[in-house]
């Protein structure tokens, strides 16, 4: 039983890893960032390239990916998202376009194929990142042999969640972000530089996506289309958890991960996926605003 719960927990932590960044940008800024999956993909490619050019393992790749995707996120915010605040559907379309651009840029090796230059590691092919020796195989936890790499993912997720919580609830910038979540106009009137805070929030959310990408690269193939399905899973968690609620995101990721893990173990994976979606529908019927949500905005 412990191993089944562990699988659920690891599924939940992967969901949370993807949803964390998404939840912040959606919650704080009301932006449905469809390019979030592509930021995850860029994070994974950072790990691939760091491996090829620097001989670096995923521990080194994680901060690199955070910086790279945070910068990319900052750029996306400055060029596209900033001009579209308050227009939910427009941001959805615009970031979807950004997603396609990023995907094709990676596939075309950033356009360099036109000039006959080839960057090993980019392009349409499948890539992989090897897991360091200490993270492969199993470790014993409570007398149960569990997957070392997944334990590591759970650990990283906990660290990032605590860090995010600390930033949101224990720093001045976090107070400003929370004020913007509740009421952006009033926050602006109180002298908060909404633009600057939003840019930083978006960059931070994007950086989290990059770290998620490095984690993904350890057990999935890295290829230009890998991000697209992740956005769906991410929004599943954000919407079920309740917009802008860190607690809700954590709870929803844990709940959906466990449901998926337990049903996949006792029945099969195909049914488990259906049960997850049925649960999501049920929760949204009973609690339309998600599990934990703020009142009004």
């Amino acid at each position: 039983m412990v191993d089944i719960l562990f699988i659920g927990l690891s599924l939940g932590s992967i969901l949370l890893l993807i949803a964390l960044g998404l939840s912040i940008t959606y919650g704080a800024m009301g932006v449905i960032n469809m390019a979030h999956g592509e930021l995850v993909m860029i994070g994974a490619y950072t790990a691939v390239l760091a491996g090829i050019y620097l001989g670096a393992n995923i521990f080194v790749a994680m901060p690199l990916a955070f910086v790279a995707t945070a910068l990319l996120g900052w750029l996306i915010e400055a060029v596209v998202v900033r001009r579209l605040y308050g227009r939910l559907l427009d941001t959805l379309l615009a970031t979807w376009g950004v997603a396609i651009l990023i995907q094709q840029a990676v596939r075309l090796e950033l356009g360099l194929t036109f000039f006959g230059i080839q960057i090993p590691g980019l392009g349409p092919g499948l890539q992989n990142v090897s897991v360091p020796e200490i993270l492969s195989g199993t470790v014993a936890i409570f007398g149960e042999e569990v997957n070392a790499y997944r334990t590591f993912i759970i650990f990283v997720t906990i660290v990032l969640t605590v860090l995010t919580w600390w930033i949101l609830y224990r720093t001045p910038i976090g107070t400003q972000v929370r004020a913007i979540i509740r009421n952006p106009q009033m926050a602006a009137a109180c002298g908060i530089d909404v633009k600057r805070v939003n840019a930083m929030t978006f960059a931070y959310g994007s950086g989290l996506a990059g770290v998620a990408g490095v984690m993904m690269s350890g057990f999935k193939t890295v290829f230009p289309d890998m991000g697209t399905p992740m956005v769906v899973d991410g929004f599943l968690v954000v919407v079920v958890g309740g917009v802008g609620s860190l607690l809700g995101t954590v709870a929803a990721a844990g709940l959906l991960g466990e449901i998926n893990g337990v049903f996949a173990s006792v029945t099969n994976d195909i049914l488990a996926r259906a049960v997850v979606f049925a649960t999501v529908i049920l929760i949204l019927i009973l609690k339309p605003a998600g599990l934990f949500s703020f009142k009004g905005r």
């Binding site: 699988i7 890539q127 997944r150 193939t221 290829f223």
Partner: protein, 417 residues
């Protein structure tokens, strides 16, 4: 000089006509010493990674035939179309090649879904498709020449070998949830029972799904001693990785696969597959001068010194030569003449002698089993010493003496038994 609109239009039209005329004559003249054929694979989209290699192998074969003088004294001109990883696009492009370009043959398709999508076009227009992929069988068309392995050519040696040589008897069958893995599982179960083994589970995962935690855990606790994998696509990669990450060793509980080729191994990282097995008629590791030369030529052709060759790619290559021989025997390049003459054609392919069987237009090939090494290459551990007759309906009891798919078409009465 007065220059009104009408005269301007007239002179422009004349000029345009004069410019275009040489082109028309040129094209007509070209057509006399050229045979156009269709090459239809996904150049874009999710499947392009693998289908691009099939397209390249086809073009390489055409290139080689052309530099050796072509076919019937004519050069082959490939019309490359992009199926875009989408069955509907495959259908449209097949129609375009057959109806507008009037090609006598198309080399193409990788997935069963794309083949099923183009099949009606080929049957209705009485045209001809050369299909290079290993597939589930269960099809009998007079308009398709199948040059990939069918289930009996991947499993008839594999299952007995697993049971007798590896000494593994309890099978856990796992696959992606669609027709190929399910048909492969059907054939496997028959063979497992015939050889005195047992299968304890038969599980499927959504196509393209890459979350293997629960499934690998199930495998671990099922008490099986071998895993038979019919998993396809990038799910394969996540599967082998999770397998190793959950601490299962290939030595204790080997994965024996029917889809995992050099391409997937390269994608997952060779250390994850090391020790597992795959059954295919062709491997890059086949140690013959013919195959070494083939790998060398391919790497030069695609200008990539590390390119890998694999089964469907080898079929994509040799099927063009089988086609050429049929055209030469027929003395003309019409679909009817090619179909009538392709049966019985043999060719010394990189994987040995291959023969298109006249009875069912499938190809006899030599099954082999390879064990994957840490460098991403297989080591051939078992091979038939002769090509095996293709039986597309083996899951339903077809044998070489009792063919369901015959020159007269499919004998459906046998399926209902």
């Amino acid at each position: 000089m007065s220059f009104n609109r009408r005269s301007f239009l007239k002179s422009s039209a004349l000029a345009a006509g004069a410019l275009a005329t040489p082109g028309i004559f040129h094209r007509a003249a070209m057509a006399a010493d050229e045979i156009e054929v269709g090459v239809l694979f996904s150049q874009t989209g999710g499947l392009s990674i693998i289908e691009k290699s099939l397209s390249d192998a086809t073009l390489m074969a055409i290139d080689e035939i052309n530099s050796a003088g072509g076919v019937l004294g004519k050069q082959i001109k490939p019309l490359v179309e992009d199926g875009a990883s989408d069955p509907k696009t495959f259908n449209e492009k097949a129609s375009k090649l057959i109806i507008r370009d009037r090609v006598p043959t198309v080399f193409g398709c990788y997935t069963s879904a794309s083949r099923k999508a183009v099949l009606p076009v080929f049957e209705k227009r009485r045209n001809l498709l050369f299909y290079p992929t290993y597939y589930e069988g269960f099809e009998c068309s007079k308009n398709v020449v199948y040059t990939g392995a069918v289930p009996n050519q991947q499993l008839s040696n594999f299952i007995p070998w697993i049971i007798n040589t590896l000494g593994k008897k309890k099978f856990f069958i796992v696959g992606s949830n669609y027709i190929y893995p399910r048909e492969m599982a059907k054939v496997s179960k028959i063979l497992i029972e015939q050889n005195g083994g047992e299968w304890i589970a038969d599980e499927y995962l959504e196509l393209g799904h890459s979350e293997w935690g629960a499934m690998v855990n199930k495998i671990k606790s099922s008490g099986c001693d071998v895993v038979l994998s019919n998993v396809v696509g990038d799910s394969v990669v996540a599967f082998y990785r999770e397998y190793k990450n959950q601490g299962i060793s290939q030595a204790d509980l080997p994965i024996c696969a029917t889809v995992t080729s050099e391409v997937e191994i390269a994608a997952m990282g060779a250390e994850y597959a090391a020790g597992s097995y795959t059954s295919f008629p062709y491997f890059q590791a086949i140690d013959t001068p013919a195959n070494h030369a083939f790998v060398e030529r391919y790497r030069k052709f695609v200008n990539d010194p590390k390119a890998v060759t694999h089964h469907a790619m080898a079929s994509s290559y040799f099927q063009v030569f089988l086609w050429k021989q049929a055209v030469e025997k027929a003395g003309e390049a019409t679909p009817e003449a090619i179909v009538a003459n392709v049966g019985g054609q043999s060719f010394d392919a990189p994987d040995g002698k291959v023969t298109v069987e006249a009875a069912n237009l499938h190809t006899a090939m030599t099954p082999r089993i390879a064990q994957w090494k840490a460098d991403g290459q297989g080591e051939i551990v078992e091979a038939y010493d002769h090509p095996v007759f293709p039986l597309p309906y083996v899951a339903y009891g077809e044998t070489q003496d009792n063919l369901f798919c015959t020159a007269q078409g499919l004998d459906t009465s046998k399926l209902n038994q």
